[in-house]
Each structure stands twice: as C-alpha cells, then as structure tokens.
C-alpha cells in the first residue's frame, strides 16, 4: 500500500502519523494500551510498597541502593526520551535520514541504560546475595524493576526491527504511524522510570 502514500513536499501532511485511518486507529489504540500499562505498573508499585519492609533479615533498601548509578541511569533514559522527540521532529519535517540517526542515538542510550541495570542486578546478587528468592522485598523489587527493564528490552528490539525493516523504504504514510507509536512507548517507559527512581530508589534511601 505504500506506493499510494509516498511523500514529497507537495503531498507531505502536517501529521503523517495520523494521515491515514490505519494511523489514526493505531494512535488511539496505543493510548488505550498505555492506559492499561499504567494499571499494570500501579499493581507492581502497590505490591512493592506493601512488601519493601519485609526483608527477612536480608539487606534493606538503604543497604543496597547507591544513588550514583541510579542518577546515571535516569539521565540516560531521560536523554533518550529527548532524542526520540528529535526523531519525531525530523519525521514531521520529512527528513528520514535524520530521523533514523536520532532513533539510532535513542537505541544506544537505551542499551547503555540496560547495561547499567544488568550491572546493578549482578552487583546485588554477588555482593549482597540479594536475589528474587531472598525475601518478599527481593521478589517485589526484581518484579517491578525487572518488568520495567523488560519493557526497555522489548522497546529496543522493536526499535531495531522498525529501523532495519524500513531502512530502504524511506518515510511513508504506512510506516510513519509505526515510528510515532514507538516514540509514545519510549516516552511511557521514561514515565514509569520517573516513578521507579522516586519511589524505589530515592524513597528507599530516605527510609
């Protein structure tokens, strides 16, 4: 169908992601999905808050967490949110190459975040013996933070698939909604992380 929707300066719509019915439906459907994701993460946050004191004699939040690494991870993810805004800016200017470039930077930042998270989990397991099975706190912590990390992993695979599949196609009205919906997903991951660094790490350090 893409040949019907090829873009050039005369046919370029203001919002290529919503110029087709399919695009509009994806846009609405994806926001509906994000509403559901909000509830999913609320359940995990509620469980974590209820169980974080149940350490079964193991390390507490205050023993485990270090603010330096969390700060670096926060900056990485927040910056990757901005780079995907840049990517959508170039999409609206019909500049496919620059869009791919900024999405590539987003992917690099996402992988850096994921690397930090793996290092962090590895550190807790080997230095503190703090695992998923250590305590109710351990289960709740790894479920909540791990689910977020899983979302990042899925997002990165999704992004790479989009970038590689469409590399030679260029931007058209068929793939513009796909890129746009990905950017919404990526921002949502950052939204969840804002609550994780606040509720889990910062509030865990306060007591």
């Amino acid at each position: 169908m893409s040949h019907d929707h090829s873009l050039n300066p005369e046919t370029m719509p203001h919002e290529p992601e919503k110029a087709t019915l399919e695009g509009k439906n994806k846009f609405l459907g994806f926001w509906f999905f994000l509403g559901g994701e909000t509830v999913l993460f609320a359940c995990l946050f509620g469980t974590y808050l209820a169980l974080k004191e149940s350490t079964a004699g193991g390390p507490t939040t205050n023993d485990l967490f270090g603010l330096e690494l969390v700060f670096i991870m926060t900056i990485l993810l927040l910056t990757s949110s901005l780079t995907s805004v840049y990517a959508m800016y170039h999409m609206k200017n019909n500049n496919f190459k620059k869009m791919q470039l900024w999405l590539g930077i987003t992917a690099v930042l996402g992988f850096a975040f994921l690397g930090c998270e793996l290092y962090e989990f590895n550190h807790y397991i080997h230095e503190y013996g703090f695992t998923f099975r250590s305590s109710a706190f351990g289960s709740a912590f790894y479920t909540l933070v791990g689910f977020h990390g899983g979302h990042v992993t899925f997002g990165l695979l999704w992004l790479l698939a989009l970038m590689i599949r469409n590399a030679k196609r260029g931007l058209n009205l068929y793939n513009a909604p796909k890129y746009y919906v990905f950017s919404l997903y990526w921002h949502f991951i950052d939204v969840v992380w804002v609550f994780i660094f606040t509720v889990v790490y910062l509030m865990g350090k306060v007591g």
Binding site: W31, T38, N93, N94, R169, L184
Partner: protein, 107 residues
C-alpha cells in the same frame, strides 16, 4: 516505493512551526533535568526532614510526568481528547489499585 523522494523540503511555514515546537520541547527537557537534580540533591544531602521529603519527591515526580505526557507525548496538542481520556482512565484505575493494596496492608 520508488516515488519516495524523501526530500527535506516541507512547507516553510510548517517548518518554522516545527522548529518553535522543538524549542519548547528543549525547555521541557531542561526543566525535567532540573527537577531530577533537585530530587537527587534533596535525598543525597539529607537536607530535609523525612516527613517532608516524601511528599516533595512525589510532587517533583508528578510534575515531571506531566511534562512528559503533555509535551513529549503531545497531549497538549489538538485531537488528544481520547488519549487524555484513556490515560486519565488508567491513572484512575491505578489510584484505586494503590488505594486497595494500601488499605489491605496498613489499615
């Protein structure tokens, strides 16, 4: 697909509008970094009493998330009534969930 010109030209008015929009996004990003740094500094220096720290941290987080939704995810723009309905519906159900879990744990 061969017709894809992928030229960088867009109507100049629209291009200028996009640029102005991007400037707003950059200001949003700067503010979000600022809020993040404030939150970390409050906790790292232990400058505030425990009773006040948690509400302040939560307020900073909510402001940051509002920026993310309204600017980065364009909820401030036209045609986002349904997305706002969906996300506020989700937030409503999320608050009920948190309240429910809180009540069975601490009541």
């Amino acid at each position: 697909m061969a017709e894809n010109t992928n030229s960088n030209e867009v109507n100049p008015y629209q291009k200028r509008k996009n640029k102005l929009e991007m400037q707003k996004q950059l200001i949003t990003f700067a503010l979000m970094i600022l809020f993040t740094i404030i939150a970390f500094v409050i906790v790292a220096t232990g400058m505030m009493q425990k009773m006040f720290v948690i509400p302040v941290l939560l307020i900073l987080a909510i402001i940051q998330v509002a920026f993310q939704f309204y600017y980065f995810m364009h909820m401030k723009d036209k045609g986002h009534d349904m997305p706002a309905l969906m996300i506020y519906g989700g937030i409503w159900a999320a608050l009920l969930t948190l309240a429910g879990l809180g009540v069975i744990t601490w009541w």
